[in-house]
Amino acid sequence: MFRNYFVIAIRNLLKNKGFTFINISGLAVGMACAILIMLWVESELTFDGFHENRDRIYEAWNRDSFSGELQCWSVTPKVLAKYIREDFPEVQDVVRVDWGANYLFSYKDKRIKEDGNIVDSGFFNMFTFKLLKGDKKTALNGSYNIVLSESFAKKIFGNEDPMGKILKVENSDNFTVTGIMEDAPDNTRFKYKYLIPWSYARLKGNDDENWGNNSTRSYVLLKPNASIESLQTKFKDIRKKHDNEAGTGEMFLYPMSRWRLYSNFTNGKEDGGLINMVQLFIIIASFILLIACINFMNLSTARSEKRAREVGIRKVVGARRIGLIGQFISESILLALLGGILSIGIVLLALPGFNKLADKALFIDFTNGWYWMAFFMVVIITGLLAGSYPAFFLSAFNPVKVLKGLKQQANKIITPRKVLVVLQFTFAIVLIVATIVIRKQIGYAQARQSGYDKNNLMYHFLTGDLEKNYDLLRNDLLQENIASSVTKTSSPLTESWSNSWGMEWEGKDPNDKTLFNRFYADNQIVKTAGMEIIKGRDFDLNTYKTDSFAILVNEAAVKAMGMKDPIGKIIRDNGAEWTIIGLVKDFIIESPYKNVNPMLIEGAGGWFNVINIRYQTGSNMQSNIKKTEALFKKYNSEYPFEYKFVDDDYAAKFANEKKTGTMATVFAILTIFISCLGLFGLSTFMAENRVKEIGIRKILGSSITGIVGLLSKEFMILVGISFIIATPLAWLAMGKLLDQFTYRIDLSLDLFIYAGLGALLIALATISFQAVKAAVANPVRSLRSE
């Protein structure tokens, strides 16, 4: 029986190559989308899911009220770990994981800078990372022990055995390699090339007992069977218990299973997060797959006449309806399987690009049985979804009628199909609108004035001896006419590393907890960055020695402090008094989509991490870099020269939105492609069925354009209906999307009209091929065939 089904299915597919191609390629593209998105979803859902203790691991979070709103954040004081251990017997261990380190490693004549982290020695007992060499319990015990990742060890030591070797770190301290850990998988937040024990940080003076300094992450491992509910109630008040200035600050333990997907907090409560993206993508994938299935349904049922006789005969010789349903469904599953095989090819081709877009390292593990299970599930679901309606439709034919050759009215067959076409184009139009909106929004934010001059501005972190030799380096850069201006700052101009509500000034409301960005710059920051001074002057240490404790404020800060004339006023911050000497125009240091926050630029009395170099305009950048590199080598010979340009970093602020834009574009194109495949098939069928009508019309004097219009009109109406349904949907969705940006475009109707016209034109182009073909055909021939 199945052999018979199979034979007839294959012969039918081969006989109607055009329809087979449309069906299989449509299904393949739809399934490829679904598979790619499933891979992505899987990697997000299993993020940090491999830790054996995952049900007992928590991260300590803060919750406090600012200006009447509850805020939550995960950065904690370093001293917290100690008190958690002391206060709560149900806690097995606490591990601090610091902000991350970027150290220079020297071995023989190799010099490598790499990212790693400083962690408490219990790290390997809490988290599940395999040690290939060394002992988990003791690897991080000594202050000068270091555990390297397998690939990093290979990079330094090549084929030598790294265990017990001495590595020089930051040109000063000698570490002994005590462990080699397997490279961390892609889906973990703990992806480090090396781990250094916390005791080293303590030796270096980077540990403190200050409750006011939120500076590390604290992870808590509960004992088995400990009750998290009862612990939470006690844990809440840990700050108040040990910190006199805790105020309303509370703490809570946030479970590992929620970190990746749910950690968006609004007013103290979880409010979505990446999970929204996961859901959105699942919806999009389902829709694209559904659209491909709709094509299949449309084409199989529209062509039902060709299969009708077979149905009739099978019924006459004794087939039951259920058997026929089985036959047609196995046929569609076969087709889905062919599509599925093709889709794996598409996925393999698309993965590199998709990985780049999604910032992932996804791959198909062909040895993994679960993947195959999932694949066959997709095939079967697609086959069932696509095949069920045609199966019920076809198997219901009355054998008496179909064997007599009674023709079904083409229009009658097409009507339910119309609903499906409308559904497809509604989705396509929504995606076109999304593409346009996201692109416009990015363009709008890119065109926004940044408030400073990003071009010809280079920066470099103050590595090794750069801080020590800064004055010499600066002098040389200026003397040799390489730079027009040099300034050191606390962070790059595109990042704000520090903020506080603790600043004080005359007349400040004691309850005011407005956050100010805190930035440090030593000299001539306005000149170097190309900012605009509104009042007062730039830092000028050469003329005014007191500028070490001078301060520049931006417009937003003046507004927040409510000062009429800020120049000369005093601001107290971090135990020092700073005098305002200038007011600068607001400039964008954080998100170009948000309002500029209040900002204080404090003078040379602060701390510094970055050297900023402004090159002469119109100078040769290549030779500038060469000359700069020579000077850096002179003053910082042990460290590599790793410069960056501010305009590149600024452009990177748009990377996420650009990715979203690219995704929307890709999805829109795919949806349109699949929808058009279906439309093409339907219009072919329509044209075939109306051959006689077209012949008669032509003999009676209809023009070719008249007939093309006749055949296209119906589909145009459908696209029009789709437009009417899509517009409010897209309006709502896009409004929601844009709400996350403060600096945003407004939705206007013309944008939707463009999308609608675009869809209409694409649809018209698809249909016209068949319509023109039918219209120019010789009517005599089509009528004679009757």
Binding site: N4, V7, R309, E310, R314, V317, A319
Partner: protein
């Protein structure tokens, strides 16, 4: 074998109501060869469809093999049909995507005959119809007469008790037509009951009895033998 009493069938569309069978009564004995004749629209095809259990009557009784089958559901009708009845149509109605062999094999598949036995039976019947040499051809590659012989082969492969033929020579020239009528006659002589709808007086003379219909009723019966 067949006893029909007061059979009624009405077709309704949105506007028109057509009475296809009007209190029709009829009896056919086992081994008979009966022709049904009458003008277009007299209900003879409807009668054939009901006799073939493809259609259900609205009213009346239909006893087939001593079983009342009027009111049978789809499953029971399909079951009764595939074991007892073979069909031959005017337009052959072969499946284009299947070879001669596969077309003839189809009824055996639905009655659950094992593969080896199917092969044997199909070959035997193809041999009998003298189209064995065409077993691997597709219907379009055959002449009309050959196609109808394949259709007859398909109708008899299951050894049905009853063959229903709907104008079996309508699409054939006279020599091919005669060949098919000869085949039917032979089958009848071997014991198969045959009911044939036809417009052809010539063909009807092969049968034992002619039933003439008009407006859904039988009007006359001619006994030929």
């Amino acid at each position: 074998m067949i006893k029909i009493t007061n059979l009624e069938k009405v077709y309704r569309t949105e506007e028109v109501e057509t009475v296809a069978l009007n209190k029709l009564s009829l009896e056919v004995k086992e081994g008979e060869f009966v022709s049904v004749m009458g003008p277009s629209g007299c209900g003879k095809s409807t009668l054939l469809n009901i006799l073939g259990l493809l259609d259900d009557p609205d009213k009346g009784s239909f006893i087939f093999n001593e079983v009342e089958v009027a009111g049978f559901n789809e499953r029971k009708r399909a079951d009764m049909r595939k074991h007892n009845i073979g069909f031959v149509f005017q337009s052959f109605n072969l499946i284009d995507e299947l070879t001669v062999f596969e077309n003839v094999e189809l009824p055996l598949i639905y009655t659950g005959v094992k593969s080896a036995e199917r092969k044997e039976k199909v070959e035997k019947v193809l041999d009998k119809m003298q189209i064995m040499h065409r077993r691997n051809h597709y219907p379009q590659q055959l002449s009309g007469g050959q196609q109808q012989r394949v259709a007859v082969a398909r109708a008899v492969v299951n050894n049905p008790k009853l063959i229903l033929a709907d104008e079996p020579t309508g699409n054939l020239d006279s020599s091919n037509g005669n060949e098919v009528m000869q085949l039917l006659t032979e089958l009848n002589e071997q014991g198969t009951t045959i009911i044939m709808v036809t417009h052809s007086e010539h063909d009807s003379r092969y049968s034992h009895r002619i039933i003439r219909m008009l407006d859904g009723q039988t009007v006359t019966e001619n006994i030929l033998v």
